[in-house]
Symmetry: C4
Subunit: 498 residues, 4 copies
């Protein structure tokens, strides 16, 4: 359907604020992003995050809302070239810059600024819990809501971590461990410790450099990053941040349209990504209430209202658009009809890269994955962000080890979710995991301290893993065996959080 | 025993306040309800709620106390026509209206009024817990005490809900679920989701429209309402609120007098109710201390006293009458001697409607019900309001599934009690339930927001059920099977309440 | 060793305060009790509670300290007649009375007085927890410390009650229960409910009428009282308070001296006590720190010091005497060398009364008791006041039922400890107990409200037992069977206390 | 590498502060300790606690920092005689004394001084928990951090104690126990109760007399002390504090250099130590965050900053040196390559003393120890200070008893960790332990009250053990058998701490 207003426009190279300002409705909706003008009228209904959030900026500069959650190339990919209307004129550009500068900071922004100044020196961060505590101070309300949220009543989120507290060690003594090596390989790629950065989206929400912090930190610490399809930097930008020959993995959210999906796979293979982690645990978004609630919770904070003392009339417009949260937007176009029979052969056909299934949650599906011939499975419930009451990955791993130990010879098994300590990593390895993934801890670390934060996480884990291995009597990862852990029949206490 | 005072009355069509006011004792007790005068002297001792509460209004207008807990036809049913003495005269009518208007509101009423104004917009209600939180603000002290109370130490009330936290999912991946259908049938009647409104009495305590809110909400959301014998609207009023062909079920509290009971059954069948749910878990009232305590707790609130700082002398009159709470009054005339051999055949004889036994709590009684040939059983402990330490319904269902899976082929099995999330519904269905009932959540919803509140509950559950089904790999209710849930051997954390 | 000071005294019939006041040391120690003068010099070292507490009152009136913890006849029994020096003269008598009147009340006494005035009306007491809450307000610090204390870390005290929370009911429906009878017999004596007052010492600490409250309450409520050897009224006084033909049991703490013990047994048999409950779980006192700590904790309260801010020098004299608490004093002369072979035949020889062993705690000892031919056993760990980590009585009962069901045919089995609700009573009866004992609840009740408090406890339990029986489908105690309870494998929540 | 600055020094017998003050850098670093001057330049890199802490005192008096954590002979052992430069001159000596006197006390020192004055009289200490509560008041921040810290999330520290709460007693009645003997032997040496002082380092941190308090207390109470290699008094000083013929054991941390280790063993054997407890659970230091955090936490306390409100720039110098805590320093030179095959024969060769392996944590290693022919094993996880999630010693003992009861006949088995009550001791003995060790409780006791505190701990335990034995029906330790304890399947409550 042709857009009348655009058709009437003279072929001009730049725009005034007045001109843009006229297109401030669903009938004709223009927005300014980084001093470029875009006609998004036809895109309104396709926007995974809903039209409401765009219309809020109709006829105006939308850069501040757009930037933290979209990669650089999002507009190019999603909007036909004809809708790129060209730059603002120089007056408009300065006016926008000035407005941005004069803008009164929100309470939340001021709080974050203050918190950033008050961060403890990095050397005082002794544990992943310390790091999370700092991140919780310095993250914006929106970012914390998105990073920390999990589904429904957070039962699985909590049980993911609690599962580790049920496994105790049988430490062996009088074994030579002065030399002790925690290094590993993942799909054949070397890693300084058996830990990787699990796919975690929207790093720019927490830090302006976003996923590049993870890439550079992974390079410095010699571990491997898995990049989410929903990264807030483009796949090219991330690769550009990488060191030469640094291996990076790609977490694929398969589009419901096979052609779109195929293009994405071929693109990242060309860019040099080293494996495809097909995500099967997020075909629809989990019910993450903190994330969904975030926009109006923030409104309440800014206006000084409390949750249950809003005027029932007021706020109607603001609220009308929410409902799915960021998570809902991200998976809106994902394929809900993947099958073992159809999807794996399709993926094999279009890529030479090793394939890992991310999101296996049962012994049965682990067996199906082995039969499908993939190179690995990541036992994951998406950090408790999808189906509440999913089994904790460590428990699934434990069952797989007991019921089908043969599977570990057929593919590599990884887990993610709930890992907070080096001992957690060691427990998973005792039970047969080749490596473990961490998501939130790395997001928190890059948000709090950028690249050095990411490196710090690896240093902490390395020190904790080494100590645990030595005190267990294990000089290498091969010495970590199932007999060294026991699932206790009592109820351990909750781990203290700082 | 003829009432002397009445015999002396001239045949007049209307009364003055002065005339009514003379009958202010147990010897001659008149009350005004909705501007009609009634002689309740002989009824005093038959009143299930005790004589004290009536005597408090002897010779005066009792409308405000009467209305929220009695259906319109209660006086007709319980008082001979001769005791209907006729209307107030017009002066008296205006005086009563004026008095009502001038009446100083109680602290509790003012609190409720304020809370109603402060309700969040309905779209901000994301979960059943959100809804309950609002209801707890807007309900009167008495209504909340009655709705929320459960027996003794609330162990069963709490365990009903906690039982669900012990069942975790084994989610299957790579299954086509883009089309996913949560609709079901109950006794052959269609329901948009496998959820019904379980019998819950006295809806007018929470909202002036009372049970009609539930009826209209059920119609809009395409689910089925079960109407309690103790509804605060008459069965006719409820039917009058229904849509054409809307199926409604009837929860029968069998009167100890078979004739009275038979009349009730024949009446509701004639009115169009579609099935009889014979209630066997409430032959006597459970010990609901919050409910029993409510009148004097309220007195203390109004007078600013604290529970343990009342003057031991004061309050004697007020208190003398309490002892059973509302629950005790409601079941006072129920049949305590029902048996499988006697009661089921009797009921079959007097009605053609399908019969469900509400309140089965053991595998043994489920088997007896099947042998008795009823169409269904509702595994229920009356929401933890009857015998404390009754088994949670989900645990009974779990045992029935393991010990007697054949029963599920002989009748429909439902459960109610403790359901707070869509995942709870799905767990019950995995274990073989045909549908689940919710009571309190619907009472809270209609109290907080009327009909839209009721619809909202269904929308929330539908969204949660759909998400859970898809993430489990189930495209229809038939795909929900026992292997998808596991009763874990660890102790999950308590679910957070808002 | 003859007492010189006494030898020098003129044969006078009454004493002045000045004369008494000279005997204010361990060398010559006189005390005034109820206006009588006693020479306790030689008794100092025999006093089970230590000499320090007596010396505190040397040469002075000791009535106020003596009365609440000693029966009337304690002086007669423990002091030779020659040490009864005669009454005060009339001047002294009035001076003592005056001093008592002018005495400044302690903070604790004032608190208690105030609390007594503020008690809620008895009809507001709905549960045993309500009753305990009132008692905790109105009891003196010392009395509460003695009544409520249990040993070490209170693990067994708490587990006694928690054990009941692990047993859930399988309620049967559709059974005739309109007529329902909770009455029972104990050793052949009728009881209105299957509950008795378990031996609990020092009732005068909580109420001036002491054990007589229990006796009269038991008579009114038709239950049976077991009287402790350590009652604070004499066995005669208690019998004097009884109704004609009211059965009363005697809890025997066997003196290490067989002759003393024999005299006690023969005395109570003569007085009309109906059975002997030989106490074997208190041969030494448990470590009840709250009781031991009470004297100085009270000092700290009165002086406004806090526990850890006493001057290390101050308080030395006060403290020097403590160490065993009241419990230690009470059992100081008990027999620590009883055996099945020796003690049971000895007891049979000296009495015709039925014998119950109080304090059996293992299946093995239950078997030995049956072999020894006693009429009953009371499974008890002394309310958690003796060995911490003793098994909860309900758990012992449960094991006895499973391992040796035959024992229940050989003798009557009772339990006490941790019972707070009618459902608790019913659970014990389902598992085979003939009746259950309650100690603290009756002490609390008589302290808070005297005789009516005791009756109230029985009324509450009767109502709760009746409700539970009916909702279980049991019309008589014989209908309560093991299949009606199940020990659950999950961890129930703690019962709320008011 | 020769030290130039030293070579230039004139052969003088005493030093001025000015002269010393010039050597205030890593290039030339002198320190004053107890008025003696030492050149530690070459030692800087060998100092187990790092060079930073020494450089802080370069050119200055370091006595106050040095004394609480080093034995008298540490300098002699670690520094060549040529680096002992001689005494301060008399002016300097007085200046140092004066400076020490004028030094402004820190907030923490003032707090400790105040707390010491406020200690309750020792007779009010009824339990080990009472003692710990006092110690927590009177210990310096640093001492408490070192004593109380445990690794990672303190799970094992907490579970060590919780394990005891899972074992309940089956008390037997009607057994003669008036005479009851809790005395035992350990490796043939008599002990008044089956308890010893387990190796616990750095007693001087808590009290100026340090380990000598333990030695003298052990003598008075007739129990045995095990002296840590890391004692803060020299092994000679400790022996000098002992009574004639008092048996003392030696806890060996084996140096990685066999010759150094051999010298230590031969030295202590010569000094009269009676057995060698080879420590195998601390080859590297556990991650004790409280200990590591202590220096800067203390800085924050003194400066009034809060943990998360330090200026990110400030504090950089202070912090740069921390990282391992005291624990890391203590084990820096320990042997990480001990084996059963190599180390036990080596130790046998160089000493005639009985050998105990301290730190066995599995049934498998207990068997290996028996095969290696040692005289005993101490099942220990170092008080939860090493590998978090190590099994609680009581649980290991329980498994050993069930799986390999024969091992108890081949060597003596002890446990330490988590013991807080006499009942805990008795439980371990029921399961086969010959004796149990306590570390922290004795450190707390000597810190709070010196020698009398140590004796008090034994008195409390003796009273509690005696009471438990009698109430269990055990007259001697031989009567304590496995059947008297049962591991319960429910979750006991946490023990209250004062």
């Amino acid at each position: 359907m042709p857009c009348v207003s655009q058709a009437l426009l003279p072929p001009m190279s730049s725009w005034t604020l007045e001109q843009v300002g006229k297109h401030n409705s669903a009938e004709s909706c223009w927005v300014i992003i980084k001093n470029q003008v875009y006609d998004v009228t036809e895109f309104l209904n396709e926007h995974p995050g809903g039209s409401g959030i765009i219309l809020k900026y109709a006829g105006r500069d939308a850069t501040r809302a757009y930037e933290p959650i979209h990669p650089l190339d999002a507009l190019d990919k999603n909007l036909p070239a004809s809708k790129h209307l060209g730059p603002l004129d120089s007056d408009a550009t300065s006016l926008v810059a000035q407005a941005q500068q004069n803008r009164k900071k929100t309470k939340d922004e001021l709080r974050v600024e203050d918190a950033l100044k008050q961060r403890p020196p990095l050397r005082r961060i002794l544990s992943l819990a310390d790091m999370e505590a700092v991140a919780r101070q310095v993250l914006s309300h929106k970012a914390l809501a998105y990073y920390s949220s999990s589904s429904d009543d957070q039962m699985t989120y909590q049980e993911n971590a609690r599962a580790f507290t049920r496994f105790f060690f049988h430490p062996r003594v009088m074994r030579p461990v002065s030399r002790c090596d925690p290094s590993s390989t993942i799909l054949g790629f070397k890693s300084s410790i058996p830990v990787f950065i699990s796919g975690a989206a929207l790093a720019k929400l927490g830090h302006p450099q976003g996923e590049a912090n993870l890439t550079k930190g992974a390079a410095q610490a010699n571990i491997i990053q898995m990049v989410s399809s929903n990264a807030s930097l483009s796949y090219e930008e991330i690769m550009a941040a990488a060191s030469p020959s640094q291996p990076i993995f790609f977490q694929l959210y398969k589009n419901t349209n096979d052609d779109v999906a195929e293009k994405r796979v071929r693109d990242v293979e060309k860019l040099g990504y080293k494996s495809i982690w097909l995500t099967v645990d997020a075909i629809v978004a989990g019910n993450r209430e903190k994330d969904i609630r975030s926009p109006w919770a923030l409104d309440d904070i800014e206006s000084g209202r409390t949750a249950f003392h809003v005027d029932a009339v007021d706020g109607a417009v603001e609220d009308s658009d929410v409902g799915l949260g960021i998570a809902g937007a991200l998976v809106a176009s994902d394929d809900r009809d993947m099958t073992w029979e159809k999807t794996i052969p399709w993926l094999r056909r279009i890529t030479k890269l090793p394939i890992v299934i991310k999101g296996v949650q049962t012994v049965e599906d682990a067996v199906l994955a082995a039969e499908a011939g993939v190179e690995g499975i990541l036992i994951s419930n998406h950090g408790g962000r999808q189906l509440d009451y999913s089994f904790p990955p460590l428990e699934v791993l434990y069952r797989l080890r007991r019921q089908r130990p043969d599977i570990f010879d057929k593919l590599e098994v990884y887990i993610d979710g709930g890992i907070e300590r080096g001992t957690d990593v060691v427990k998973a390895l005792c039970l047969g995991a080749k490596a473990v993934g961490l998501g939130r801890p790395f997001l928190y670390a890059q948000s709090a301290y950028g690249v050095p934060g990411v490196v710090k996480i690896v240093q902490i884990l390395e020190r904790e893993i080494l100590t645990a291995m030595r005190l267990l009597g294990a000089a290498s990862l091969q010495d970590l065996i199932p007999e060294m852990v026991e699932r206790v029949d009592w109820q351990p206490l909750l781990r203290p959080k700082l």
